[in-house]
Structure formats: C-alpha cells, structure tokens
Symmetry: C2
Subunit: 367 residues, 2 copies
C-alpha cells in the first residue's frame, strides 16, 4: 500500500534518520532543507511504496550522496546532482527507473532519494540496503545477498558524470568511486545497485523510511508531552526489526579527535560518566563502529551506537560532537538479515579492521 | 595512401618515439614487446592510414595508456586493457570505430594504438594530438582546436571500466581520470577524443607515426654506417614540420631528483659539461619542460628537449637517467600549430606553472 510524504513529515524523518545514522551518514537536516524547497516548488507530496507491493520486474534505481560527513556539512548540494546521476545510469542501462530508493536510511541519505523524487515525480521505495548508515558502498545488504552495485553513476557539481562498472566486485567499485568523489571535492552524488522489485524484496531492509519517521515522531512527542524519550523510543522499537534498545552510558564529552582522511571522517570520542569514574570511548569511520566502557566492548557494528543529547534525546552526529556536551549513548539491535555470517563478513567489526568479534548488544548489555 | 607496419618496423619506431617522448611518455620499448607479441599472434601487419585519406564522417577513437612513467615501467599491461576501453566507449557512443589513433606520438603511446590495432584488426591513423608527449590529457591539439575529450573510457587490469563525461571541460576530465588512474595503481588505459575524420584533418599533428619511424631509422643507420647521428637527424628533420634541431649541451649527469607524486613523475636532472664549468638543469613533469644552461633558458615546452646517449645517440627517458651517464641534449622545434597562442595557453610553459615565456628554440639557440 503506498502512502505519501509531505513537508510536515520532514523534521521528524530527519531526526529519526540522524539516530539511524549512528553518528554518521551526513547531517539529514541539510537534506531536509533541500527536500523542503523542492516540495515547495513541486506537487508538494512524495509517493512512498511499500516494498511488498513492487512488481518483480520493476526497475528500482537507488540514489544517494557519498563523501565524508565533515565535508557534506560544508559543501551544500545544488540539488540536481543525484537526478543527473540517475539519468546518466538510465541512459547507460537503456531503461527508465520505476522508482528510486535509499541505499541507507541513516543520515542525509534518507533524504537524497526524496529530493530525487520531489524533482522527478518518481516514487520512493520504503526500504534501504544498510538499515542504518555505513561508510562504504559495498556495505549493503544488496551486496551481501548478491546484487551487484555496478554500473554506478556519479554526478558532480559541474554537471559532469562518471560511470563505473566493476562487474560483481563491489569493493573495487567503492574504491574507484571514492577516488572520483575525493577529486570532486569530497562529496558526490550517485545512482547504483539498480535492481528489480524481486531483488528489493529479497535483499533490502524493509520499511526503514517509515521507521525513521516513527523514531523522529516518538522523540518529538515524548519531549512535547514531557515523557521520558528513551522509554518512548524503546516502546516504539519493540514492534520493529530493531527491538532491543540498551543504554550504554551517560556522561559528558571530554575529547573528540577527528580527521578527514582518504575521503572519510575518522576518529575517536571520549565521554566521562556524570557520576563515578567510568569512561566511554567511541571509535568512528563516518559512523560509530565500537563503544567501549572502561575498555570493555558494549556495542559494536553493525548494531547501532547512537549519541543523544542527555536532556532532549536529540541525536548528535560525529561532526556535531563538542567538548562539554552532556549525552546518553544507546545501543540498538540490528535486524536479523544484518547479523548473518555473510552480512558480518561485509560490515561486521573485522570488515573495518577492528580486532573485535561481533556480539549482539542484547548479550553485551543484558536488559 | 595507406601503408602497413610490421614487426621489423617496431624497433625503429620505438627509438624514434623515445626521442619524441622528450624524456617521458613511458618507455616505448615495453609497448614494442607487447605489439610484437600481438603481431606474432595475428595477421602480422597493421594498416596505417594517412589522415588526408580519411572520410570526413569516419569515427576515429584514439587509444592510449595514462599514468606515471615511473610506474609504467614496473606495471606491465596484460595487453587487452586499451581494447576494453575502446569497446566500452563504442558501447557508450552506440557506434563502432573506423580506426584508432595515437593521442601522443612520443613514448609508449606511439605503441598502444598499434597494440589495439593488432588485436582488433582496426587500422591506425598516422597522426596524433601532442606531436610529442605531454603529461596531461587536456594538452592535445584536439583540445586546443575544439574537440572535446569526453566521453573518455578507462579500462583497468581487472576488466573494470569507467566512463567520464565532463562535456567540453577537458581539464576536469584529466583531473577525474587521473584520480581513477591513481586508484587503479598508477597506470590505466583509455579511449578518448572520439572524433570525425574531418576533425582529425583539422586538429591533429599529421604523419607523426611515420616521423617516429624515420627518426628511429635515421639514428640506427647512422650508427651502423659510422656517420654522425646528430647530423643525420638534422638532415631527416629538415623536411618535416620539426625542422630546427639545436645542440643545447654535452655533458655528464651528476644529479637526478625524481619523485612520483599526484600520479606524475616530477623532478630535475643536472648535467655538467665535459669541458669547462657549464651546467645544464632540466625540469620535468613526466616530460622535460625546460632546459637551462647556467641559469639561461635554452629550450622550453612545447619545443622538444631530448637527452641522447653521447656516443650512440640513443634517447634516454627521465626514468632511465643515471648518475654518470654521458649525454648530448638537443632541442627541436615543434610544428606551427603547436606554437599558436591558443596552443601555448594549453601546453606552453605557464600551463605547467613555470614562470617563463615561450620562445622558439631557434631564437634561443641561433643555428
């Protein structure tokens, strides 16, 4: 059953996507402003398709922004780059897309397909390939379950396009696309993982746009109604594929070490407890990868590590981390299709070079 | 009138192309081995077309290797990468090539279109876009006189392809293609500047494959017949578009500073005179850019600066420069279409960041 999104939904979706971005994914509020403007200039609504209703042969072309979040917040898109990438890929394939879709539901990439939809009139599929945000293009459930990312099209700010075809080698596709993105100034717009409706139903994490919207709405209404936002969040998540929510730490940011290198934002953040001597360290590559409390792993990728404002529960991105911020850090379980051995081989901790085995957050922090 | 090339021609062509490479362009002897092998496995001949005989509407797709010469000598091609690039560009354009052509006649790129020709049966046009070798893709007479380099196709060693389209911005095409080449390990194979026969006749430097062959043959036969190779070279060049040959310096290599950075081989070489206290310094970016004797400019890009073995007149590439080598350094005038204000804006000394105005070698070193 399709539904529609309009301008009134965007603030909630951006808030939920910031949480699902686990610190990275680019600030969705920038994407929100672009979508808001495009909706004011167009029909005002976006059609959202449930993946279950897709025809098996429908051509779906996901669209996204790629780059370091630290650059994304400084280099605002013109707004039509992702449409140019989509059109370039359609020309290359010799077919038109039936719909677009997010590749990740966290961060700015929850918004970029909506921007494409608002500008083209295409519907958006309510699903994605990361179920959160990840820093690299091969880190997709699409990739895990056999959909090639190639051919990938890149659109740049001067109207230039690049098409990369690495066959079924999605790591090599990421490597070459990252090189082009760096040369384009650290941010580019892409269309990739073109697939059929049947592929979407088999490989995508379903209903994650709706999930982002629900999370954002939950946090806002809890705040408006003076209820505990974390309790409200846990209640909302309980009937989703992300049903375990754990508080990992409450404390104050005392150190952030962040650098933009090789096209990524990498670094560490350290928090000390409001009470007692406890210390939390988070390691990130665009997104939060591992959270350790006093040296013990409490949550690790692909489970979600989210830093929220201690008072408002507003999600804080890694580029927004500042000395002195008061935060609560939570862990959220990811869906079962993101925790299989095949999935962990692509986006588990060792895929990021961490010498840590994956353990579910609900085992690391019993409820 | 077409002619044919066969295996017996390759050694002379490689020697001539090494001279026209002005120190860079990649070592043509590696390309020669690849062409020799391909000819042994095929018909054994390559058809060479005079540009004057091309139909105005014939589709010509030049092919080449790109990268740092310092890497090219270590990373030997498999041999079908440039064919893959040509085929990818043909698919993108929806048309088949009538012939291929060099983009530069100096260095290994004199050979790469012959490799494509030997493997595909396509003829090769006897012309190029540099009239020598240059380090960057926008540095083409094609570009100077209005032919866009885009779309450009890149073929990598794993069968991957990349298509770059920057419209008529050939500098941006170079920038993005260089980024991809670096990510491919420092060397890649390309097809670009697809153009009509009419474009070739209007913008290419004509008959430069034949020129390379004549230069190589001249140096070899002079050596075999114990004649002065420099006098023989000057006599050969006298009836070509490159009709001024000047000896700039004779001396011994005492210093070479060479680094591979940003995808290029950059550095300086210093020679001291066999007699007296004179000193020659050459600055290079893949190719020799400027030669100064005791601080005075004696020859500057786009005129050719060639380092030859003092005894045999064999050309020496920058990556072959060694302490103690005994060399003669010569300057050669480039064709008039490479010395126009439009041409100098693209590949004159200031296009390389040198604070030097172009002056013809025949003015700097009167004959």
């Amino acid at each position: 059953m399709s539904r529609t999104l309009n301008r009134d939904d965007l603030a909630d979706l951006a808030r939920g996507a910031a949480l699902l971005g686990t610190g990275g994914g680019g600030d969705p509020h920038i994407g929100r402003l672009l979508v808001d403007q495009a909706l004011r200039e167009s029909s005002g609504t976006i059609t959202v398709l449930d993946p279950a209703e897709l025809g098996d042969d429908a051509l779906i072309i996901p669209t996204a922004q790629m780059g370091a979040p630290t650059v994304m917040v400084e280099k605002i898109p013109r707004g039509d780059e992702a449409v140019a990438a989509l059109r370039a890929l359609e020309r290359h394939l010799g077919r038109r897309a039936y719909a677009t879709m997010p590749i990740e539901c966290g961060g700015i990439n929850s918004m970029m397909p909506l921007l494409v939809a608002a500008r083209t009139g295409l519907p958006v599929v309510d699903a994605d390939g990361m179920g959160r945000a990840f820093p690299e293009l091969q880190m997709e459930t699409f990739s895990v379950y056999g959909v090639p990312g190639s051919p990938l099209a890149i659109g740049g700010e001067n109207g230039e396009t690049v098409i990369i075809d690495t066959g079924d080698d999605n790591r090599r596709m990421e490597w070459l696309a990252r090189g082009v993105t760096i040369r384009m100034g650290g941010v580019a717009h892409i269309a990739e993982y073109s697939m059929t409706g049947a592929d979407v139903k088999r490989t995508a994490v379903p209903n994650t746009l709706t999930l982002g919207l629900r999370i954002g709405r939950t946090l806002r209404t809890a705040r408006e109604e003076h209820r505990d936002p974390l309790a409200a969040l846990a209640a909302t998540m309980a009937d989703t594929l992300y049903d375990k929510v754990r508080v990992l730490f409450r404390g104050k940011v005392v150190d952030v070490e962040r650098r933009t290198e090789a096209g990524f934002a990498r670094g560490h953040a350290t928090l000390v407890a409001f009470e007692g001597a406890g210390k939390l360290e988070i390691t990130f590559q665009n997104e939060h990868l591992v959270a350790r409390v006093d040296g013990e792993v409490r949550c690790v990728v692909p489970d979600l590590i989210c830093v929220l404002d201690a008072d408002t529960a507003e999600p804080i991105t890694t580029e927004g981390l500042r000395y002195g911020q008061r935060a609560v850090v939570i862990g959220i379980s990811t869906p079962a299709l993101m925790r299989t051995p095949e999935a962990l081989a692509v986006f588990g901790p060792r895929a990021f070079g961490l010498d840590v085995d994956f353990r579910p957050v609900e085992d690391l922090v019993p409820g």
